[in-house]
């Protein structure tokens, strides 16, 4: 009877969509590097960076709480809490809406100082007076490792938190895309922020990229590229599009339109060794190359479709994770979740029992390889990740939600079901 019911169900296309486990069951084991402390941050996006010093920096988000800034030193193999942002700003214990998020990837200046910016972006708490956030916003921070000193550099914009961050080391300017869809230029010397104008809708400019000349790029509309030309001091909407294979988001809800981050790039980064921008399209996990200096506006090339086989067969694609990293050997690493994962978000599209698959792809040849389903050394499932960084030694760092079996340590439940804790993880190759 059970077999009969199961077989009937499998014949429906809907059930095909519900099949989540990638048939490839190769396993990629990651070593967990614990974050110390009793805090329970519950989400992380983009804020992972392998610095030139070899240290790895992480920014964790706490909805309704405080963003946390960590430093991992490979020499000691320990994570260290550098700053509890709420504590640092004196926000904790004041009944206010707080800087609960570090949503930017970190940037590094030529002196090795580390920059990041904060925000609230839906972090709430929604039952606290919203006006307590009114004069806060995207606050730019600098960490001076030599002095172990964190400092605020300035407010980029009021009310809206920051997403994308790149640094023009030569001109000493930080560029940030914020929650209001505007691009800002923050002069690190004068500490003056300048609004360069609206670049896109809603919060979807998660990542911006800078070429070797100081021009800044992002996406808008339907996979189209914009360029902030530093010489002209002006944003241009290019006619170029990054590769697209349309995968609609089947949710129609105000504030979460279908035309969201699926129509844009999800991740992008300048790869100096190749002199081009590489990134991941947001709706279909398409790895692409953008050469901003070729042709009139640049050229775009699809490198590889990184979607999982089950996703391609079912047509059911989660929006692409931010967990993209580029190695010194011109390899891309991508930790793709098989189902719709967004930590503890209550959005009804999120799905429980997710798994994460690590893949690599050669940026030059387009040759890709499935490295396996991510699990910790003790066999726990990686539910989803928010960032991936490849260090100079080739180690692949990931940060995200790891299955947590100790109820005391659970920080959230993915899709309201799967208990997790945020962890820094490192993949050091498939040696086992």
């Amino acid at each position: 009877m059970i077999r009969t019911v199961s077989l009937i169900s499998l014949f429906t296309t809907f059930v095909v969509q519900l099949m989540a486990v990638e048939p490839v069951e190769r396993v990629a084991q990651v070593r967990v590097i614990e974050f110390p402390g009793r805090e329970k941050p519950d989400g992380m996006w983009s804020a992972l960076y392998a610095a030139s010093s070899g240290k790895v920096y992480t920014g964790l988000c706490t909805h309704g709480g405080s963003a946390l800034f960590f430093e991992y030193d490979p020499a000691t193999d320990r994570n260290r809490l550098v700053a509890d942002i709420g504590l640092f700003l004196g926000e904790n214990g004041r009944g206010e809406r707080t800087h609960g998020k570090i949503h930017t990837r970190f940037a590094e200046d030529s002196a090795g100082n580390i920059y990041f910016a904060t925000g609230n972006q839906g972090s709430g708490p929604s039952r606290i007076d919203p006006w307590t956030w009114a004069n806060k916003g995207a606050l730019l921070f600098r960490y001076v490792p030599d002095e172990n000193r964190v400092e605020t550099v300035g407010l980029v914009t009021e009310n809206w938190g920051a997403y994308g961050l790149v640094l023009d080391r030569r001109r000493n300017i930080a560029y940030l895309s914020c929650f209001d869809g505007h691009l800002y230029a923050f002069d690190l010397e004068s500490r003056v922020s300048r609004d360069l104008g609206r670049i896109n809708n809603w919060d979807v400019n998660r990542m911006i990229a800078m070429d070797g000349s100081g021009n800044v790029y992002g996406t808008y509309g339907d996979h189209q590229l914009w360029k902030y030309a530093v010489r002209e001091d002006r944003i241009f909407d290019l006619s170029l599009q990054i590769p697209a294979k349309y995968a609609f988001r089947h949710i129609y809800r105000l504030g979460r339109p279908v035309m969201d981050r699926r129509y844009l790039w999800r991740y992008a980064e300048w790869v100096p060794s190749l002199g081009k921008i590489y990134g991941m399209e947001g709706g279909r996990s398409l790895l692409f190359e953008f050469d901003p200096h070729a042709g009139e506006e640049g050229t775009v090339r699809l490198i590889a479709d990184m979607a999982l086989k089950s996703q391609i067969e079912s047509g059911n694609h989660p929006y692409s994770p931010l967990a993209v990293g580029f190695g010194p050997d011109n390899m891309a690493y991508y930790a793709l979740v098989d189902r719709v994962f967004d930590y503890g978000a209550g959005e009804h599209a999120t799905q429980s029992s997710s798994h994460t698959y690590l893949q690599s792809c050669n940026l030059v040849t387009g040759e890709k390889q499935m490295l396996g389903r991510l699990v910790s050394l003790d066999g726990r499932n990686v539910l989803g990740t928010g960032a991936c960084e490849v260090a100079a030694d080739g180690k692949v760092y990931l940060c995200g939600a790891l299955e947590e079996r100790d109820p005391e340590r659970v920080a959230g439940k993915a899709a309201g079901v799967d208990p997790f804790r945020l962890q820094l993880m490192v993949w050091e190759g498939n040696h086992r």
Binding site: I2, V5, S6, S9, L10, F14, V15, L18, M19, A20, V21, W131, A134, G137, T157, E158, N159, W160, D180, G181, H182, S190, V192, R194, D195, G197, R198, I199, N201, W202, R234, I235, D237, Y246, F248, Y252, R253, L254, G255, P257, V258, M259, D260, S353
Partner: protein, 436 residues
């Protein structure tokens, strides 16, 4: 394991599908998600042209002036940016048609006027939507106002090599003949400049249709343009003090718009929130014993004077004028009794940025600051009731979607449609189709 998982998934699916059909997908969302009091199909926008052909490009598409032709219902608009552009929207044809760039000028700030000769007048200035770059190195002179003095010197320096805003004339009957090229100059007639070194900051036609009234930036000159003789008259500066009352930092507080009654008199605000009237028969500006509403801030400390200013006006259906202030108050001005009634403040955020009177007499407005985002409201004079309608968000995805944050102009169409001009980079013309 896999088979068991498939079975569970299948059962969950089979159980949940019927439930999904029973629960309305939109239940409660229109109010809970956005606070909108209008159904979404009553809000839409139009691009300012067509992208591959004649779109007014993003940097020049900040809509900062709108006006409706009282006879044919065509909405004319002007933008600010690197270059100011002119466009029109025909409700009949449902298209925005770019009419070209103005020969000079980076902005048209509340400066479209349809006069008694049936012509459209356009006053240009700098792009007033830009954030003001404030001097960082304060000078060392003494005195409480040294910062203000430095800011004023800085502002004057910005205008030191500025020739002047121009007044242009366009025959609105010719809109259909235009080529609708965004990258060509508009076919307008240059009528000259009212005040050397000053931009035009606000422009309106006199109620009797014979003149145009305007205010300049940054010095706040009031000027009159006589249509018959095609000549300007500068009545000089109108504000006693240089005030930066906010909320926009570094922007000198001046009246953002003027209004004129049928008798040809023109009303606007000056220092301390005082209302003044230009009387054309005497050719003089009279200081009235009427003050627009303003807020009190703890920093005022009981001894400071505050300086609210009018940002926008609309002529009400009841014969009164309705004004919106930089501090976010809506008020009613009865010109017969010279009585100002404070109708209240719709948001904690400041600024009323655009007003328009609908066909049913309701006053529609845009409230909010740049860094907070604008929301739509309407005021019903009959009921004395505000309705706060929230952000003007359009979601017709996957075709198009946009969440606007900044508006700086509004006008009402003859059929009751309310038009709002988005004043951000990538500006759009928004259409609100209210229920009556």
């Amino acid at each position: 394991m896999l088979r068991k998982r498939c079975l569970i998934d299948s059962l969950v699916f089979l159980l949940t599908v019927p439930i999904c059909f029973l629960v309305p997908s939109h239940a409660g969302q229109s109010s809970q998600v956005t606070g909108l009091g209008l159904n979404q199909h009553r809000i839409d926008y139009r691009d300012l042209g067509y992208a591959p052909g004649n779109l007014i490009e993003a940097d020049n598409s900040k809509i900062t002036s709108l006006i409706t032709h009282p006879e044919n219902g065509i909405v004319f608009g002007a933008t600010s940016g690197k270059k100011a552009a002119l466009f029109c929207f025909s409700p009949q044809y449902n298209h925005v048609r770019p009419l070209g760039y103005l020969p000079s000028g980076e902005g048209v700030h509340n400066a479209l006027a349809l006069a008694g000769d049936g012509m459209l007048y356009i006053g240009t200035g700098k792009d007033m939507t830009l954030e003001v770059e404030l001097p960082r190195a304060w000078e060392t002179e003494l005195g409480t106002d040294h910062i203000v003095k430095t800011m004023w010197r800085n502002l004057k320096a910005e205008y030191s090599d500025y020739s002047a805003g121009r007044l242009f004339r366009f025959d609105p009957r010719r809109w259909a003949e235009m080529q609708y090229h965004a990258d060509r100059k508009a076919e307008v007639e240059d009528l000259g400049s009212p005040v050397s070194g000053e931009g035009i900051y606000g422009l309106t036609a006199s109620g009797d249709g014979k003149s145009l009234y305007g205010i300049t930036y940054p010095s706040g000159h009031f000027f009159v343009f006589d249509i018959a003789s095609s000549s300007f008259k500068d009545l000089g500066e109108t504000w006693d003090e240089v005030i930066y009352a906010g909320p926009r930092k570094g922007l000198r507080t001046l009246p953002g718009q003027l209004v004129s009654g049928k008798d040809g008199a023109c009303y606007f605000s000056v220092d301390r929130g005082r209302l003044v009237r230009y009387e054309p028969d005497k050719d003089q500006i009279v200081r009235l014993d009427a003050f627009i509403p303003g807020d009190f801030y703890p920093v005022h400390n009981d001894f400071e004077t505050y300086h609210p200013a009018v940002e926008c006006w609309t002529a009400g259906a009841d014969g009164a004028f309705y004004g919106g202030t930089n501090e976010g108050y809506l008020f009613r001005l009865s010109t017969d009794e010279l009585e100002i009634t404070n109708l209240g403040k719709i948001r904690t955020s400041r600024r009323i940025r655009g007003l328009a009177t609908g066909r049913d007499g309701r006053v529609w407005g845009i409230a909010g600051e740049d860094r907070i985002g604008c929301t739509l409201f309407c005021y019903d004079p009959g009921k004395g009731e505000f309705q706060h309608l929230g952000p003007v968000q359009v979601d017709r995805s996957p075709y198009y979607a946009w969440y606007p944050l900044r508006f700086d102009s509004a006008t009402a169409g003859l059929d009751g449609t309310i038009y709002l001009g988005e004043s951000d980079r990538k500006g759009h013309l928004y259409l609100i189709m209210p229920t009556e």
